[in-house]
Amino acid sequence: MIKPFWTKWSFLFKLRFIFGVILLIFLLLFLYLKIVPFGQISYSRDYSSAWRSSKGFISGFTPAERVDLETSEVPAIIGDPVYFSVFTPRTFDQAKMTIVYRDNLTIDLPIIEAGVLVDNIVWRYDLKPVDNKALDYLMLRWDKLEENGLLFLQKEKNYSSLADWEKDLAKGKIKDCSNVSTNCLAVYNYTPPYKYQIANYQPLLPLTIDQPLRGAHQFYLYLKDEPLHLDFSFIDQNLDLKPAPIKIILSSENGIIDTQIIDDPNLNPGSGQMEEKKVTIDKRNLSAGIYKVEVKITDDMIIKKISSSIGRLSFIHKIWPVSGQGNLKVYTDSNYLQVKALSPASLQTISFGGNKFSLTEAYRQFDFYSEDGGLIKEIKIAQDDLILENNGVFALSPNALINPSLMKVDRFFSVKMPVKYIVAEYQKPKEVNGFKVATVEFDLKNAYREKGKYNFMIAVPGLKADDKLNDNLEIYKINIEFEGRTLWQKIWQ
């Protein structure tokens, strides 16, 4: 049937027909790759191969000063954290990242994590474990149980199942443990069914924080049979050109309770003209417990004042006081402190837990460790405009300090600590031909995507590019399998 047509066609027509079909296949192939009709696609980058026939999907690592491209045939991460983006032609719901790496890290860098950007205002990454050497070590020495993807480690075998232990935890009484919240239990990448309570709670007087704070902050509040009233006063400095919206989220362990959003019409971008904005949160009949408030603003905004009806208020992991005034006292529950001075005028000697530490360079992050054995450490600052960060909480008065978080198996964790139980959602990386292979899964439904790219991070907490040590993490290959809705689900749902 086809043959008579084919023989009748001229040579030129046949040639054009063949090339036309090739062009059509090319077009259909790229439409297929754009739409991904079956909802599944995988992108990879082999860093050991020098040949690249295209731009690829997975970008290089940034910032450049944290990556060594010269010494090894593959990029070696020498500073924490590094970022890379992945271009996808459409959105997906889930990603499964497989990293092939070789770890040349010192013993004091036990953690490797990977994350996807979920909030571009506060630059929050949803971090997942890649490698945790403290857990790897304890898995060989402690009693180990694995249930429903969770790892349960016991120093001495008191429970035969994780479910039994969780039942006891919900009651607030665990075998061989006098106080759950302080030193008996450590977690990693897991939130146990545990409700933080302060025994013999006495309300404190209302609190007013009139120390200006720059940028996004989040804090814990603890209340019992009290109304919650929070008044925020913000200053939009209008020093940059971007809009400065305000988003305040009040949440408890059961989820979000209230969200307040103030959009910024951005009428005076870059003018330096200050605008004052106010937000109030008023809630009654809240049950006793811990509440979290997230203040999401850009670094062009300042929290001028917070008036709280609740006296126990602690900033989580970070505080950035900026008033230009001096002699500030901040309190923390951690032995560790990261400090970054944001101007040469802020260089100084600070006191942390009774020890003196020198800040000698602006825009460089300094790590300080205090030998103070007390639960609360005082930080004395002669001049502010410093970013203070750690794995604990900060407060402007010692009485206000509360930290409901359980101990984490992070880089400050020591096997010498009096921990008796560890629960973690963690898979030890596999060893294949001298390389480590770790698989991490991400939920992309809430991930931030800009210009067709998801942004990822690889973190080795404590790894520093400028410490002159030869420690690094060599990345050989990254493979990401994306999964999302199929074309038919998109059309019909």
Partner: protein, 58 residues
């Protein structure tokens, strides 16, 4: 035979022209969709070579 070769080289040149136009069009509509897979520079080099061969065979 020589006539056919001239036709083939000319048509190959037309093919690469159409391929480049199509690729650039797709890139304008959906940025990165082609560049992520194919380096257009290679196609442009092939297009130039085919153009030169076509001129020689003319």
């Amino acid at each position: 035979m020589a006539k056919n070769l001239a036709i083939i080289s000319r048509e190959v040149f037309y093919f690469f022209t159409a391929l480049i136009v199509l690729s650039i069009g797709l890139e304008i509509i959906w940025p990165n969709i082609i560049l992520a897979y194919v380096n257009l520079n290679y196609i442009i080099v092939l297009w130039l070579i085919s153009g030169l061969i076509s001129l020689i065979n003319k």
